[in-house]
């Protein structure tokens, strides 16, 4: 209280009683209308004068006024006492309980000793600022080991931490943390980092120290790649992918650092494939997945060429992607009529006079209006100079081995993606224009034109082109049975060496305001006023 300034903060529990103060003027009215003294005839007044002179002073108007004021003050004090005056002062910040949560899940088992030691240190430091409760995170929830008001020493309680077991269920953990005192501070001691926005991220997390390189691994997805199932894995180094299917039984493929594991799969395979990482890691939820592989089919190819193309035909057959029953040669002049029934049209040695209709094309020494590729010069010698494309199927091509004996010179314009360059112009180009998707080989696919058909890269190039042009055909859909299971449930990585400063917990809340009743003060004043009024009356001041 600062002088009388606190009077501004006085409030009342029952302010309705204050309305009675309006009756104060009534006291003055009552005084003015007070009962007049009754007349008493006495036989001899001097006797009364003698008595009164020895007992009192003559009442004065001032004393009468003082008496009225005292009575008014008495009435006001009584009204104030009934109204229940009080003042509230803000309470100092109260010490809050620190909940030290020790990670005792199975995933933290390898770091049990580090977690225990770090928990003891954190608890000891927190105990300097207030009460400490020790909690074990185990079996998907929290288990109290030592309450805040427990008298046992902290180091003794740390020894009572349960052995690591149980999974790390984030939802259960979130509910358990929410059940703790919201005014308290939560510090989690764990050997792992925590994902953003997770329940642990909202608490203060203290690293317990962990070994390097330990991370959660799992199966993240799978796609068909012709005769293989490409399985994307994460953190599976040193482990293997076990594929099981009714068609082929069990296959184990070691995982490498690339993150993709190729599981051999017959090109006509379809059905469910079960995948599992071996061995499983402490987060087994994402270490297994099942995929339904849709039935695949081959590419229907139409070849429109004026002459024989034995090298091209051989490369098409060697790709393993061409559906021989649905593929064939078409009249070069009438290929447009049959193109709709094929997946890919191969045009050899002709420049179309009209734009290509929508579709997928493999152009060999051919072009068409509207494409960003134009023939500019007649056949001449050339040689490959550089491989620009990054496609895997192009990686086997050595430009130095590709010699062009006789080929036209083409020029590529904007929109053409040159995959192989030559000294006279582009040799292999990726073209996309509207609904036309094409690869263009500016060199005839004959041994007479170049050494390309003789290179082992040629059939791979053909296969790669077919895969690019018709992926749905050559790579049927692979659908995960449980897509949610592919997500890492609680992907964590170990903390780097050194402790991380715990996140700032909730700020210390001030306690509830302290209410100080002023009733006792008012009653004391009331008593003083009563004594004063009695004293005045006793002195005969009242009249």
């Amino acid at each position: 209280m600062n002088g009388l300034g606190f009077l501004r903060d006085v409030r009342f529990e029952a302010p309705r009683f204050l309305d009675a103060l309006w009756l104060l003027p009534l006291l003055v009215v009552l005084y003015l209308l007070r009962r007049r003294a009754s007349r008493v005839d006495v036989p001899f007044l001097p006797f009364w004068e003698r008595v009164l002179a020895s007992r009192r002073r003559k009442p004065s108007f001032a004393r009468a006024v003082l008496s009225v004021l005292l009575q008014a003050a008495l009435f006001a004090a009584a009204v104030l006492a009934l109204a229940g005056p009080f003042v509230e002062t803000p309470a100092a910040a109260v010490s809050r309980t620190t909940f030290v949560v020790a990670d005792r899940t199975a995933a933290a088992a390898p770091f049990s000793a580090e977690v225990a030691a770090r928990t003891a240190a954190v608890a000891a430091e927190a105990a300097e600022g207030g009460p400490v409760a020790l909690v074990a995170w185990t079996a998907g929830g929290l288990r109290s080991v030592r309450a805040a008001d427990d008298v046992r020493p902290l180091d003794e309680a740390v020894r009572l931490l349960p052995p690591p077991r149980g999974g790390r269920d984030p939802e259960t953990l979130a509910h358990a943390l929410a059940a703790l005192d919201p005014a308290g501070r939560v510090v989690v001691v764990t050997p792992f980092s925590v994902p953003e926005g997770g329940p642990l991220a909202r608490a203060g997390v203290v690293a317990a120290g962990a070994a390097d390189g330990y991370r959660n691994g799992g199966i993240r997805g799978a796609t068909r790649d012709g005769d293989a199932l490409l399985v994307r894995v994460d953190g599976a180094e040193g482990r293997g992918v076990v594929a099981t299917a009714a068609a082929f039984g069990r296959v184990v493929v070691p995982a490498d650092k690339g993150g993709v594991v190729r599981v051999p799969l017959a090109t006509d395979f379809s059905g469910r494939v079960g995948l599992e990482l071996d061995p499983v890691d402490p987060w087994p939820e994402d270490d297994a997945a099942a995929f339904d592989v849709a039935p695949g089919r081959r590419v229907a190819v139409a070849v429109a060429a004026a002459g024989e193309t034995p090298a091209l035909d051989a490369a098409l057959r060697a790709s393993g992607l061409v559906d021989a029953r649905r593929s064939g040669r078409v009249e070069p002049a009438r290929w447009r009529e049959a193109a709709a029934g094929f997946d890919v049209v191969v045009l050899v040695g002709r420049d179309e006079e009209s734009p290509l209709p929508a579709g997928r094309y493999l152009l060999a020494d051919a072009t068409a209006p509207g494409l960003p590729l134009a023939r500019v010069e007649g056949p001449t010698k050339a040689r490959a100079t550089r491989r620009a494309g990054e496609a895997r199927w192009l990686a086997t091509l050595d430009p130095d081995e590709w010699e062009i004996r006789k080929a036209s010179v083409f020029a590529a314009t904007a929109g053409a993606d040159v995959l192989v360059e030559g000294d006279r112009g582009p040799l292999f180009v990726r073209l996309r224009r509207g609904d036309v998707d094409a690869f263009a080989l500016t060199v005839p696919p004959t041994e007479a034109a170049s050494t390309l058909p003789l290179l082992p890269a040629f059939p791979l190039m053909v296969r790669g082109m077919l895969e690019d042009l018709a992926p749905a055909a050559v790579s049927p859909a692979v659908v995960a049975v449980d897509p949610a299971g592919l997500r890492p449930p609680f992907s964590e990585t170990p903390e780097p060496a050194g402790a991380r400063e715990p996140a700032a917990g909730p700020p210390a809340r001030p306690g509830p305001p302290i209410r100080s009743s002023l009733r006792a003060v008012v009653f004391a004043a009331l008593l003083v006023l009563l004594v004063a009024e009695w004293w005045l009356y006793h002195l005969g001041a009242t009249d």
Partner: protein
Amino acid sequence: MTAAAVLADAARELLDPAFVARLERLELNVRRLLGGERRGDVPMNRRGPGVLFRGHRRYVAGDDPRFIDWNAYLRLGELVLKEFDAEESARLTLFLDASASMTAGGGVKFAQALRLAAALGFVALARHVPVRFVPLPGPGGEATFDGKGRVGALLAALAATKPGAKTGFLRAFQAAAPAGRAPGVALVVSDFYDVDEYAAGIKFLRRRGFHVEALHLFTPDELRAETLGPVLLRDLESGRTLRATLRPDLVLAYRETVERHFAEVAGQCRATGAGYHRLDAREPLESLVLATLRARNVVR
């Protein structure tokens, strides 16, 4: 003449006829009042012939043989002598306080004073003792009555006395008992609130040779206050007022003051050789006269 015959209608208010019949059997104990049974600072040795028989004594040589009671000699065989009170001393003066203070208590005190004076006056007149009625403070209103036939006049005079004046004992006594006038017995019926003059007045009467009997009338109401709290006290005689707030302690202190005054009056009377009798005015008159005053030998 019967008692009823002598009482006028107005006088009937003062004395009950039945009480009057009983009063006829009383007499003032003049001998005691006038005799030497009381000591005082005014010696009284007056003896000798008179109309009031006082008693017998043995005859000794030298006594006047005219007063030998021969009837007693025939009965007793002894010579005894009759003795009589002096005629001049057998006079009753009734001083009646008619001041305003006598009306305190609703007039009960004054009414009782009138009745008391009437009773004693009747007793005196019935025994052929002249009665002089002197209302205080006077002047005026005095009258002398002699003989039983004047009882009615005495009662009428008493009934006609109205209170309201201011007391003044000394001046009134001085006026009523000038030098040379025969004294006798003086009955002062008053409330004795004339604190300034009552003592001097009593002394004056005693020096004049009166045998004074102070009949101090009071009412219990004078010793207490019926009203507490704020009051306006008014003196009945002077009319002065005093505003006060009466509390029990003040009332008690007032009672003590009045009691002290009463004791002072008694002391002054006795110191001057006067008789003092405090009488409760609310007590029935018959009890006052037939019991109290008789027990104190004022009447017999």
